[in-house]
Symmetry: C2
Protein backbone atom coordinates (compact mmCIF):
# COMPACT_ATOMS: atom_id res chain seq x y z
CA UNK A 1 0.00 0.00 0.00
CA UNK A 2 2.57 2.56 1.12
CA UNK A 3 4.85 1.60 -1.78
CA UNK A 4 2.01 2.44 -4.17
CA UNK A 5 1.42 5.81 -2.52
CA UNK A 6 5.12 6.60 -2.52
CA UNK A 7 5.24 6.09 -6.29
CA UNK A 8 3.83 9.60 -6.44
CA UNK A 9 7.23 10.83 -5.32
CA UNK A 10 9.34 8.71 -7.69
CA UNK A 11 11.78 10.77 -9.73
CA UNK A 12 11.65 13.58 -7.22
CA UNK A 13 14.63 14.61 -5.15
CA UNK A 14 15.75 12.45 -2.25
CA UNK A 15 16.83 14.86 0.42
CA UNK A 16 18.44 15.03 3.82
CA UNK A 17 16.08 15.81 6.64
CA UNK A 18 17.19 17.36 9.94
CA UNK A 19 15.04 16.11 12.81
CA UNK A 20 14.82 18.30 15.91
CA UNK A 21 14.13 16.14 18.96
CA UNK A 22 14.85 12.77 17.37
CA UNK A 23 15.00 10.87 20.70
CA UNK A 24 11.53 9.36 20.28
CA UNK A 25 10.57 5.78 19.40
CA UNK A 26 7.73 6.82 17.11
CA UNK A 27 9.98 9.22 15.18
CA UNK A 28 12.86 6.75 14.91
CA UNK A 29 10.55 3.98 13.71
CA UNK A 30 9.47 6.29 10.89
CA UNK A 31 13.15 7.05 10.16
CA UNK A 32 13.88 3.32 9.97
CA UNK A 33 11.04 2.72 7.51
CA UNK A 34 12.02 5.76 5.42
CA UNK A 35 15.62 4.50 5.21
CA UNK A 36 14.44 1.03 4.22
CA UNK A 37 12.25 2.53 1.50
CA UNK A 38 15.14 4.79 0.49
CA UNK A 39 13.08 7.97 0.45
CA UNK A 40 15.31 10.25 2.53
CA UNK A 41 18.50 10.60 4.59
CA UNK A 42 18.57 11.97 8.11
CA UNK A 43 20.44 14.10 10.59
CA UNK A 44 19.20 13.24 14.06
CA UNK A 45 19.39 16.06 16.59
CA UNK A 46 18.54 15.43 20.21
CA UNK A 47 19.65 13.43 23.23
CA UNK A 48 22.36 11.22 21.68
CA UNK A 49 22.23 8.58 24.39
CA UNK A 50 18.50 8.13 24.06
CA UNK A 51 18.72 8.09 20.27
CA UNK A 52 21.35 5.40 20.44
CA UNK A 53 19.32 3.32 22.91
CA UNK A 54 16.10 3.53 20.90
CA UNK A 55 17.94 2.82 17.64
CA UNK A 56 19.40 -0.34 19.17
CA UNK A 57 16.01 -1.41 20.46
CA UNK A 58 14.21 -1.05 17.12
CA UNK A 59 17.08 -2.40 15.03
CA UNK A 60 18.00 0.86 13.32
CA UNK A 61 21.62 0.72 12.10
CA UNK A 62 23.59 3.58 13.71
CA UNK A 63 25.84 3.85 10.65
CA UNK A 64 22.94 5.09 8.55
CA UNK A 65 22.59 8.52 10.12
CA UNK A 66 24.56 11.30 11.79
CA UNK A 67 23.71 12.36 15.34
CA UNK A 68 24.06 15.83 16.87
CA UNK A 69 23.87 15.70 20.63
CA UNK A 70 21.57 18.41 21.99
CA UNK A 71 19.71 17.82 25.21
CA UNK A 72 17.68 21.05 25.16
CA UNK A 73 14.72 21.49 22.77
CA UNK A 74 15.61 25.03 21.80
CA UNK A 75 19.21 24.16 20.82
CA UNK A 76 17.93 21.05 19.10
CA UNK A 77 15.66 23.20 16.88
CA UNK A 78 18.44 25.76 16.29
CA UNK A 79 20.94 23.08 15.24
CA UNK A 80 18.42 21.55 12.83
CA UNK A 81 17.80 24.97 11.28
CA UNK A 82 21.57 25.59 11.07
CA UNK A 83 22.09 22.33 9.16
CA UNK A 84 19.55 23.52 6.58
CA UNK A 85 21.10 27.00 6.43
CA UNK A 86 24.51 25.44 5.78
CA UNK A 87 23.06 23.41 2.93
CA UNK A 88 23.66 20.04 4.60
CA UNK A 89 19.98 19.27 5.08
CA UNK A 90 17.14 20.56 2.96
CA UNK A 91 14.10 19.88 5.11
CA UNK A 92 13.28 20.07 8.80
CA UNK A 93 11.24 17.60 10.78
CA UNK A 94 9.62 18.03 14.16
CA UNK A 95 10.49 15.25 16.59
CA UNK A 96 9.93 15.46 20.32
CA UNK A 97 9.89 19.26 20.48
CA UNK A 98 6.92 21.63 20.52
CA UNK A 99 5.79 22.95 17.14
CA UNK A 100 6.17 26.48 18.54
CA UNK A 101 9.84 25.82 19.41
CA UNK A 102 10.71 24.72 15.89
CA UNK A 103 8.71 27.58 14.33
CA UNK A 104 10.52 30.10 16.54
CA UNK A 105 13.89 28.79 15.32
CA UNK A 106 12.67 28.90 11.70
CA UNK A 107 11.33 32.46 12.03
CA UNK A 108 14.42 33.86 13.81
CA UNK A 109 15.43 36.98 11.88
CA UNK A 110 19.18 36.35 12.01
CA UNK A 111 19.64 32.59 12.14
CA UNK A 112 16.29 31.36 10.81
CA UNK A 113 14.88 30.30 7.47
CA UNK A 114 12.28 33.02 7.13
CA UNK A 115 11.12 33.70 3.58
CA UNK A 116 9.03 36.58 2.31
CA UNK A 117 5.71 34.81 2.83
CA UNK A 118 3.59 33.80 5.78
CA UNK A 119 3.99 30.18 6.86
CA UNK A 120 1.10 27.83 6.09
CA UNK A 121 0.18 24.18 6.41
CA UNK A 122 -0.30 22.01 3.35
CA UNK A 123 -1.90 18.57 3.54
CA UNK A 124 -1.61 15.98 0.77
CA UNK A 125 -4.42 13.41 0.73
CA UNK A 126 -4.79 10.12 -1.05
CA UNK A 127 -8.57 9.79 -1.04
CA UNK A 128 -9.80 6.37 -2.23
CA UNK A 129 -12.72 8.03 -4.05
CA UNK A 130 -10.74 10.79 -5.81
CA UNK A 131 -8.83 10.28 -9.03
CA UNK A 132 -5.55 11.92 -7.99
CA UNK A 133 -3.71 13.28 -4.95
CA UNK A 134 -5.67 16.11 -3.35
CA UNK A 135 -3.89 18.95 -1.58
CA UNK A 136 -5.60 21.13 1.00
CA UNK A 137 -4.66 24.28 2.87
CA UNK A 138 -4.68 25.48 5.70
CA UNK A 139 -6.01 23.07 8.33
CA UNK A 140 -3.45 23.68 11.05
CA UNK A 141 -1.64 26.99 11.20
CA UNK A 142 -3.60 30.09 10.15
CA UNK A 143 -6.82 30.49 12.11
CA UNK A 144 -8.53 33.33 10.29
CA UNK A 145 -6.25 34.60 7.49
CA UNK A 146 -6.88 38.05 5.99
CA UNK A 147 -6.71 38.76 2.23
CA UNK A 148 -2.90 39.08 2.10
CA UNK A 149 -2.47 35.99 4.27
CA UNK A 150 -4.80 34.06 1.96
CA UNK A 151 -2.71 35.16 -1.01
CA UNK A 152 0.47 33.87 0.68
CA UNK A 153 -1.25 30.58 1.58
CA UNK A 154 -2.33 30.10 -2.05
CA UNK A 155 1.15 31.02 -3.40
CA UNK A 156 2.82 28.65 -0.91
CA UNK A 157 0.58 25.78 -2.00
CA UNK A 158 1.02 26.47 -5.71
CA UNK A 159 4.85 26.60 -5.39
CA UNK A 160 4.92 23.36 -3.42
CA UNK A 161 2.50 21.41 -5.60
CA UNK A 162 4.20 22.62 -8.78
CA UNK A 163 7.58 21.49 -7.48
CA UNK A 164 6.13 17.99 -7.11
CA UNK A 165 5.73 17.96 -10.89
CA UNK A 166 2.07 18.93 -11.11
CA UNK A 167 2.12 21.62 -13.78
CA UNK A 168 -0.40 24.47 -13.53
CA UNK A 169 -2.14 23.06 -10.47
CA UNK A 170 -5.85 23.73 -10.27
CA UNK A 171 -6.79 25.72 -7.18
CA UNK A 172 -10.42 25.67 -5.99
CA UNK A 173 -11.49 28.49 -3.68
CA UNK A 174 -14.06 26.91 -1.38
CA UNK A 175 -17.02 28.33 0.50
CA UNK A 176 -20.74 27.49 0.47
CA UNK A 177 -21.72 29.35 -2.72
CA UNK A 178 -20.95 29.11 -6.41
CA UNK A 179 -21.27 32.83 -7.11
CA UNK A 180 -20.19 36.14 -5.60
CA UNK A 181 -22.58 37.13 -2.82
CA UNK A 182 -22.04 40.01 -0.38
CA UNK A 183 -23.76 37.99 2.34
CA UNK A 184 -20.73 35.68 2.24
CA UNK A 185 -17.87 38.23 2.18
CA UNK A 186 -15.15 35.72 1.31
CA UNK A 187 -16.72 35.39 -2.15
CA UNK A 188 -15.63 38.99 -2.86
CA UNK A 189 -12.04 38.07 -1.97
CA UNK A 190 -12.30 34.97 -4.15
CA UNK A 191 -13.45 37.11 -7.10
CA UNK A 192 -10.28 39.20 -6.68
CA UNK A 193 -8.03 36.11 -6.63
CA UNK A 194 -9.62 34.81 -9.83
CA UNK A 195 -9.00 38.20 -11.50
CA UNK A 196 -5.40 38.28 -10.19
CA UNK A 197 -4.93 34.85 -11.76
CA UNK A 198 -6.44 35.98 -15.08
CA UNK A 199 -4.12 39.03 -15.15
CA UNK A 200 -1.17 36.74 -14.24
CA UNK A 201 -0.53 38.63 -11.00
CA UNK A 202 -0.93 35.16 -9.48
CA UNK A 203 0.68 32.90 -12.06
CA UNK A 204 1.60 29.25 -12.53
CA UNK A 205 -1.80 27.88 -11.58
CA UNK A 206 -5.47 27.98 -12.59
CA UNK A 207 -7.72 29.46 -9.92
CA UNK A 208 -11.46 28.82 -9.87
CA UNK A 209 -14.23 29.80 -7.48
CA UNK A 210 -16.15 30.53 -5.44
CA UNK A 211 -17.12 26.86 -5.36
CA UNK A 212 -18.91 24.64 -2.91
CA UNK A 213 -16.68 21.60 -2.31
CA UNK A 214 -18.74 19.28 -4.53
CA UNK A 215 -18.31 21.57 -7.56
CA UNK A 216 -14.54 21.45 -7.07
CA UNK A 217 -14.14 17.69 -6.89
CA UNK A 218 -17.12 16.13 -8.68
CA UNK A 219 -17.59 16.67 -12.43
CA UNK A 220 -21.23 15.54 -12.05
CA UNK A 221 -21.95 18.06 -9.30
CA UNK A 222 -20.31 20.83 -11.34
CA UNK A 223 -22.35 19.90 -14.40
CA UNK A 224 -25.59 19.85 -12.41
CA UNK A 225 -24.86 23.40 -11.22
CA UNK A 226 -24.00 24.47 -14.78
CA UNK A 227 -20.39 25.27 -13.87
CA UNK A 228 -17.99 25.02 -16.79
CA UNK A 229 -14.47 25.78 -15.58
CA UNK A 230 -11.20 23.84 -15.86
CA UNK A 231 -10.92 23.61 -12.06
CA UNK A 232 -14.49 22.36 -11.53
CA UNK A 233 -14.55 18.66 -10.71
CA UNK A 234 -10.78 18.36 -11.12
CA UNK A 235 -9.15 20.42 -8.34
CA UNK A 236 -5.57 19.71 -7.23
CA UNK A 237 -5.59 22.18 -4.36
CA UNK A 238 -8.55 22.87 -2.08
CA UNK A 239 -8.31 26.28 -0.45
CA UNK A 240 -10.50 26.68 2.65
CA UNK A 241 -11.09 30.23 3.91
CA UNK A 242 -10.29 29.60 7.57
CA UNK A 243 -9.08 26.86 9.86
CA UNK A 244 -12.42 25.37 10.99
CA UNK A 245 -13.73 24.40 7.54
CA UNK A 246 -10.23 23.16 6.62
CA UNK A 247 -9.91 21.12 9.79
CA UNK A 248 -13.40 19.65 9.37
CA UNK A 249 -12.51 18.60 5.81
CA UNK A 250 -9.18 17.13 6.98
CA UNK A 251 -10.87 15.04 9.67
CA UNK A 252 -13.77 14.01 7.44
CA UNK A 253 -11.32 12.73 4.81
CA UNK A 254 -9.16 10.83 7.29
CA UNK A 255 -11.92 9.42 9.52
CA UNK A 256 -14.91 8.92 7.21
CA UNK A 257 -13.19 8.51 3.82
CA UNK A 258 -10.18 6.57 5.13
CA UNK A 259 -7.77 8.83 3.25
CA UNK A 260 -4.04 8.65 3.81
CA UNK A 261 -2.48 12.03 4.44
CA UNK A 262 0.84 13.76 4.87
CA UNK A 263 1.46 17.28 6.09
CA UNK A 264 4.13 19.96 5.93
CA UNK A 265 4.53 23.60 6.87
CA UNK A 266 5.66 25.66 3.91
CA UNK A 267 6.48 29.29 3.22
CA UNK A 268 9.92 29.32 4.84
CA UNK A 269 13.14 28.53 2.95
CA UNK A 270 12.74 24.86 3.82
CA UNK A 271 9.69 22.69 4.45
CA UNK A 272 8.96 21.57 8.00
CA UNK A 273 7.65 18.04 8.30
CA UNK A 274 5.09 17.62 11.06
CA UNK A 275 4.12 14.21 12.26
CA UNK A 276 2.50 13.24 15.52
CA UNK A 277 2.61 10.03 17.56
CA UNK A 278 -1.04 9.47 16.60
CA UNK A 279 -0.22 9.35 12.87
CA UNK A 280 -0.23 5.95 11.23
CA UNK A 281 3.08 4.65 9.87
CA UNK A 282 1.80 5.31 6.33
CA UNK A 283 0.91 8.90 7.11
CA UNK A 284 4.30 9.55 8.70
CA UNK A 285 6.04 8.21 5.58
CA UNK A 286 3.89 10.36 3.30
CA UNK A 287 4.83 13.43 5.35
CA UNK A 288 8.51 12.49 5.13
CA UNK A 289 8.33 11.80 1.40
CA UNK A 290 6.40 15.03 0.82
CA UNK A 291 8.75 17.18 2.90
CA UNK A 292 11.79 15.42 1.50
CA UNK A 293 10.63 16.02 -2.08
CA UNK A 294 9.89 19.67 -1.41
CA UNK A 295 13.23 20.29 0.31
CA UNK A 296 15.76 22.28 -1.66
CA UNK A 297 13.13 23.80 -3.90
CA UNK A 298 12.38 27.49 -3.88
CA UNK A 299 9.01 27.44 -2.13
CA UNK B 1 -30.65 -0.40 -0.19
CA UNK B 2 -33.26 2.29 0.36
CA UNK B 3 -35.52 -0.19 2.18
CA UNK B 4 -32.67 -0.78 4.63
CA UNK B 5 -32.19 2.93 5.20
CA UNK B 6 -35.90 3.50 5.61
CA UNK B 7 -35.99 0.94 8.42
CA UNK B 8 -34.66 3.78 10.55
CA UNK B 9 -38.10 5.34 10.29
CA UNK B 10 -40.13 2.20 11.02
CA UNK B 11 -42.63 2.69 13.83
CA UNK B 12 -42.60 6.43 13.38
CA UNK B 13 -45.62 8.35 12.23
CA UNK B 14 -46.70 8.19 8.62
CA UNK B 15 -47.85 11.66 7.76
CA UNK B 16 -49.50 13.67 5.03
CA UNK B 17 -47.17 15.98 3.17
CA UNK B 18 -48.36 19.08 1.31
CA UNK B 19 -46.19 19.75 -1.74
CA UNK B 20 -46.05 23.32 -3.07
CA UNK B 21 -45.38 23.27 -6.81
CA UNK B 22 -45.97 19.57 -7.39
CA UNK B 23 -46.09 19.89 -11.20
CA UNK B 24 -42.59 18.48 -11.70
CA UNK B 25 -41.53 15.06 -12.99
CA UNK B 26 -38.69 14.70 -10.49
CA UNK B 27 -40.97 15.54 -7.54
CA UNK B 28 -43.79 13.27 -8.74
CA UNK B 29 -41.39 10.37 -9.29
CA UNK B 30 -40.36 10.71 -5.65
CA UNK B 31 -44.05 10.83 -4.65
CA UNK B 32 -44.69 7.64 -6.61
CA UNK B 33 -41.82 5.82 -4.88
CA UNK B 34 -42.84 7.11 -1.46
CA UNK B 35 -46.40 5.86 -2.00
CA UNK B 36 -45.14 2.47 -3.16
CA UNK B 37 -42.96 2.23 -0.04
CA UNK B 38 -45.90 3.46 2.04
CA UNK B 39 -43.90 6.10 3.87
CA UNK B 40 -46.24 9.09 3.44
CA UNK B 41 -49.43 10.48 1.89
CA UNK B 42 -49.57 13.58 -0.24
CA UNK B 43 -51.52 16.70 -1.10
CA UNK B 44 -50.29 17.98 -4.44
CA UNK B 45 -50.59 21.72 -4.94
CA UNK B 46 -49.75 23.26 -8.29
CA UNK B 47 -50.81 23.31 -11.92
CA UNK B 48 -53.46 20.53 -11.91
CA UNK B 49 -53.29 19.89 -15.64
CA UNK B 50 -49.55 19.45 -15.59
CA UNK B 51 -49.72 17.26 -12.47
CA UNK B 52 -52.30 15.06 -14.16
CA UNK B 53 -50.25 14.79 -17.38
CA UNK B 54 -47.00 13.92 -15.57
CA UNK B 55 -48.79 11.42 -13.27
CA UNK B 56 -50.18 9.66 -16.34
CA UNK B 57 -46.76 9.58 -17.98
CA UNK B 58 -44.95 8.06 -15.00
CA UNK B 59 -47.77 5.67 -14.05
CA UNK B 60 -48.76 7.39 -10.81
CA UNK B 61 -52.35 6.50 -9.91
CA UNK B 62 -54.41 9.72 -9.64
CA UNK B 63 -56.65 8.16 -6.98
CA UNK B 64 -53.77 8.05 -4.53
CA UNK B 65 -53.54 11.78 -3.86
CA UNK B 66 -55.57 14.96 -3.70
CA UNK B 67 -54.78 17.86 -6.03
CA UNK B 68 -55.24 21.58 -5.33
CA UNK B 69 -55.07 23.60 -8.52
CA UNK B 70 -52.86 26.66 -8.08
CA UNK B 71 -51.01 28.03 -11.07
CA UNK B 72 -49.07 30.71 -9.18
CA UNK B 73 -46.12 29.81 -6.94
CA UNK B 74 -47.09 32.19 -4.14
CA UNK B 75 -50.66 30.81 -3.85
CA UNK B 76 -49.28 27.31 -4.16
CA UNK B 77 -47.06 27.88 -1.12
CA UNK B 78 -49.89 29.59 0.79
CA UNK B 79 -52.31 26.73 0.14
CA UNK B 80 -49.73 24.16 1.27
CA UNK B 81 -49.18 26.12 4.50
CA UNK B 82 -52.99 26.42 4.97
CA UNK B 83 -53.37 22.63 4.73
CA UNK B 84 -50.84 22.23 7.55
CA UNK B 85 -52.49 24.97 9.61
CA UNK B 86 -55.86 23.23 9.24
CA UNK B 87 -54.32 19.98 10.45
CA UNK B 88 -54.85 18.12 7.17
CA UNK B 89 -51.15 17.84 6.39
CA UNK B 90 -48.31 17.81 8.90
CA UNK B 91 -45.29 18.53 6.76
CA UNK B 92 -44.50 20.78 3.82
CA UNK B 93 -42.42 19.92 0.80
CA UNK B 94 -40.83 22.22 -1.73
CA UNK B 95 -41.68 21.30 -5.30
CA UNK B 96 -41.15 23.59 -8.28
CA UNK B 97 -41.20 26.81 -6.26
CA UNK B 98 -38.31 28.87 -4.93
CA UNK B 99 -37.19 28.07 -1.37
CA UNK B 100 -37.68 31.78 -0.55
CA UNK B 101 -41.33 31.62 -1.67
CA UNK B 102 -42.14 28.71 0.60
CA UNK B 103 -40.20 30.24 3.53
CA UNK B 104 -42.10 33.52 3.09
CA UNK B 105 -45.41 31.66 3.37
CA UNK B 106 -44.17 29.74 6.42
CA UNK B 107 -42.93 32.88 8.15
CA UNK B 108 -46.08 34.97 7.43
CA UNK B 109 -47.15 36.42 10.79
CA UNK B 110 -50.89 35.88 10.29
CA UNK B 111 -51.24 32.82 8.06
CA UNK B 112 -47.85 31.14 8.50
CA UNK B 113 -46.36 28.45 10.69
CA UNK B 114 -43.85 30.57 12.53
CA UNK B 115 -42.68 29.17 15.85
CA UNK B 116 -40.65 30.88 18.53
CA UNK B 117 -37.29 29.78 17.12
CA UNK B 118 -35.16 30.66 14.15
CA UNK B 119 -35.49 28.27 11.21
CA UNK B 120 -32.53 26.00 10.56
CA UNK B 121 -31.49 23.18 8.25
CA UNK B 122 -30.93 19.67 9.53
CA UNK B 123 -29.24 16.98 7.46
CA UNK B 124 -29.45 13.28 8.29
CA UNK B 125 -26.57 11.19 6.90
CA UNK B 126 -26.10 7.49 6.52
CA UNK B 127 -22.30 7.32 6.35
CA UNK B 128 -20.97 3.85 5.42
CA UNK B 129 -18.08 4.26 7.88
CA UNK B 130 -20.12 5.51 10.87
CA UNK B 131 -21.99 3.22 13.24
CA UNK B 132 -25.33 5.07 13.29
CA UNK B 133 -27.23 7.86 11.51
CA UNK B 134 -25.36 11.14 11.80
CA UNK B 135 -27.22 14.45 11.93
CA UNK B 136 -25.59 17.75 11.04
CA UNK B 137 -26.62 21.38 11.25
CA UNK B 138 -26.67 23.96 9.60
CA UNK B 139 -25.30 23.49 6.09
CA UNK B 140 -27.90 25.46 4.17
CA UNK B 141 -29.80 28.25 5.89
CA UNK B 142 -27.91 30.26 8.52
CA UNK B 143 -24.72 31.78 7.13
CA UNK B 144 -23.07 33.13 10.27
CA UNK B 145 -25.36 32.55 13.28
CA UNK B 146 -24.79 34.57 16.47
CA UNK B 147 -24.97 33.02 19.95
CA UNK B 148 -28.78 33.11 20.20
CA UNK B 149 -29.15 31.77 16.67
CA UNK B 150 -26.75 28.95 17.52
CA UNK B 151 -28.85 28.13 20.57
CA UNK B 152 -32.00 27.93 18.41
CA UNK B 153 -30.20 25.77 15.85
CA UNK B 154 -29.08 23.35 18.60
CA UNK B 155 -32.56 23.25 20.18
CA UNK B 156 -34.19 22.67 16.78
CA UNK B 157 -31.87 19.75 16.07
CA UNK B 158 -32.29 18.22 19.53
CA UNK B 159 -36.11 18.39 19.30
CA UNK B 160 -36.14 16.83 15.85
CA UNK B 161 -33.64 14.06 16.56
CA UNK B 162 -35.36 13.22 19.88
CA UNK B 163 -38.71 12.93 18.12
CA UNK B 164 -37.17 10.29 15.85
CA UNK B 165 -36.75 8.15 18.97
CA UNK B 166 -33.11 8.92 19.72
CA UNK B 167 -33.20 9.63 23.45
CA UNK B 168 -30.76 12.18 24.88
CA UNK B 169 -29.02 12.78 21.57
CA UNK B 170 -25.32 13.55 21.82
CA UNK B 171 -24.47 16.97 20.40
CA UNK B 172 -20.86 17.69 19.40
CA UNK B 173 -19.87 21.35 19.09
CA UNK B 174 -17.27 21.41 16.33
CA UNK B 175 -14.37 23.71 15.59
CA UNK B 176 -10.62 23.10 15.19
CA UNK B 177 -9.66 22.88 18.87
CA UNK B 178 -10.38 20.57 21.80
CA UNK B 179 -10.16 23.25 24.46
CA UNK B 180 -11.36 26.81 25.05
CA UNK B 181 -9.03 29.27 23.34
CA UNK B 182 -9.64 32.98 22.92
CA UNK B 183 -7.89 32.90 19.57
CA UNK B 184 -10.86 30.86 18.33
CA UNK B 185 -13.79 32.84 19.79
CA UNK B 186 -16.43 30.21 19.06
CA UNK B 187 -14.82 28.03 21.76
CA UNK B 188 -16.01 30.58 24.36
CA UNK B 189 -19.59 30.23 23.09
CA UNK B 190 -19.21 26.45 23.15
CA UNK B 191 -18.11 26.59 26.78
CA UNK B 192 -21.33 28.47 27.58
CA UNK B 193 -23.50 25.89 25.78
CA UNK B 194 -21.86 23.05 27.70
CA UNK B 195 -22.55 24.90 30.98
CA UNK B 196 -26.18 25.60 29.93
CA UNK B 197 -26.53 21.87 29.31
CA UNK B 198 -25.03 20.98 32.69
CA UNK B 199 -27.42 23.39 34.43
CA UNK B 200 -30.31 21.95 32.36
CA UNK B 201 -31.04 25.31 30.74
CA UNK B 202 -30.56 23.30 27.53
CA UNK B 203 -32.07 19.95 28.38
CA UNK B 204 -32.89 16.63 26.72
CA UNK B 205 -29.46 16.14 25.21
CA UNK B 206 -25.80 15.75 26.12
CA UNK B 207 -23.62 18.54 24.77
CA UNK B 208 -19.87 18.13 24.38
CA UNK B 209 -17.15 20.36 22.98
CA UNK B 210 -15.24 22.14 21.76
CA UNK B 211 -14.19 19.19 19.62
CA UNK B 212 -12.35 18.80 16.35
CA UNK B 213 -14.49 16.55 14.13
CA UNK B 214 -12.37 13.45 14.69
CA UNK B 215 -12.82 13.62 18.48
CA UNK B 216 -16.60 13.69 17.97
CA UNK B 217 -16.89 10.67 15.69
CA UNK B 218 -13.87 8.46 16.31
CA UNK B 219 -13.37 6.80 19.72
CA UNK B 220 -9.70 6.18 18.79
CA UNK B 221 -9.08 9.85 17.94
CA UNK B 222 -10.79 10.94 21.18
CA UNK B 223 -8.69 8.49 23.18
CA UNK B 224 -5.47 9.67 21.54
CA UNK B 225 -6.30 13.25 22.57
CA UNK B 226 -7.17 12.09 26.09
CA UNK B 227 -10.81 13.18 25.77
CA UNK B 228 -13.15 11.26 28.02
CA UNK B 229 -16.71 12.49 27.42
CA UNK B 230 -19.93 10.62 26.52
CA UNK B 231 -20.24 12.59 23.26
CA UNK B 232 -16.63 11.94 22.16
CA UNK B 233 -16.50 9.33 19.40
CA UNK B 234 -20.26 8.76 19.53
CA UNK B 235 -21.96 11.99 18.38
CA UNK B 236 -25.52 11.94 17.03
CA UNK B 237 -25.59 15.60 16.06
CA UNK B 238 -22.66 17.53 14.59
CA UNK B 239 -23.01 21.26 15.16
CA UNK B 240 -20.85 23.38 12.85
CA UNK B 241 -20.37 27.04 13.80
CA UNK B 242 -21.18 28.57 10.42
CA UNK B 243 -22.33 27.56 6.98
CA UNK B 244 -18.96 27.06 5.26
CA UNK B 245 -17.60 24.34 7.55
CA UNK B 246 -21.06 22.70 7.58
CA UNK B 247 -21.35 22.80 3.82
CA UNK B 248 -17.82 21.46 3.36
CA UNK B 249 -18.65 18.54 5.69
CA UNK B 250 -21.95 17.90 3.88
CA UNK B 251 -20.23 17.74 0.49
CA UNK B 252 -17.29 15.72 1.78
CA UNK B 253 -19.67 13.11 3.22
CA UNK B 254 -21.81 12.88 0.07
CA UNK B 255 -19.04 13.05 -2.54
CA UNK B 256 -16.00 11.41 -0.88
CA UNK B 257 -17.69 9.11 1.66
CA UNK B 258 -20.66 8.17 -0.55
CA UNK B 259 -23.11 8.92 2.26
CA UNK B 260 -26.85 9.00 1.67
CA UNK B 261 -28.49 12.12 3.03
CA UNK B 262 -31.88 13.68 3.62
CA UNK B 263 -32.60 17.28 4.57
CA UNK B 264 -35.33 19.33 6.21
CA UNK B 265 -35.85 22.84 7.47
CA UNK B 266 -36.99 22.85 11.07
CA UNK B 267 -37.91 25.44 13.68
CA UNK B 268 -41.38 26.29 12.34
CA UNK B 269 -44.54 24.47 13.43
CA UNK B 270 -44.06 21.93 10.66
CA UNK B 271 -40.95 20.61 8.92
CA UNK B 272 -40.22 21.69 5.38
CA UNK B 273 -38.81 18.98 3.15
CA UNK B 274 -36.28 20.26 0.65
CA UNK B 275 -35.24 18.14 -2.26
CA UNK B 276 -33.61 19.23 -5.49
CA UNK B 277 -33.64 17.74 -8.99
CA UNK B 278 -29.99 16.82 -8.50
CA UNK B 279 -30.77 14.61 -5.48
CA UNK B 280 -30.64 10.88 -6.04
CA UNK B 281 -33.91 8.94 -5.68
CA UNK B 282 -32.61 7.52 -2.37
CA UNK B 283 -31.81 10.93 -0.98
CA UNK B 284 -35.24 12.29 -1.95
CA UNK B 285 -36.90 9.40 -0.14
CA UNK B 286 -34.80 9.93 2.97
CA UNK B 287 -35.84 13.58 3.01
CA UNK B 288 -39.50 12.60 2.63
CA UNK B 289 -39.28 9.92 5.32
CA UNK B 290 -37.44 12.31 7.63
CA UNK B 291 -39.86 15.20 7.10
CA UNK B 292 -42.84 12.87 7.25
CA UNK B 293 -41.68 11.38 10.55
CA UNK B 294 -41.03 14.80 12.07
CA UNK B 295 -44.41 16.18 10.94
CA UNK B 296 -47.00 16.63 13.68
CA UNK B 297 -44.38 16.70 16.42
CA UNK B 298 -43.72 19.78 18.46
CA UNK B 299 -40.37 20.78 17.01
Amino acid sequence: MIEKLLKNFVGLKKNSIAIAGAHDDSVLSAVKQALELNIAEFFLIGDAKKISAIAKEIGLDAKKFEVFDESCDVSSAKTAVKLVKEGKASALMKGKVETSTILKAVLDKDCGLRGSRKLSHLAMFFVPTYHKPLFMTDAALNINPNFDDKKDIILNAVSAVSSLGIKLPKVALICAKEHVDEKMPVTLEYEKFVKMNESKEIDGCIIGGPFALDNAVSPEAAKTKGINHPVAGDADIIFCPEIISANVLYKSLTIFSKAHVGGVIIGANAPIILTSRADSAENKLISIALGGSLGGNKL
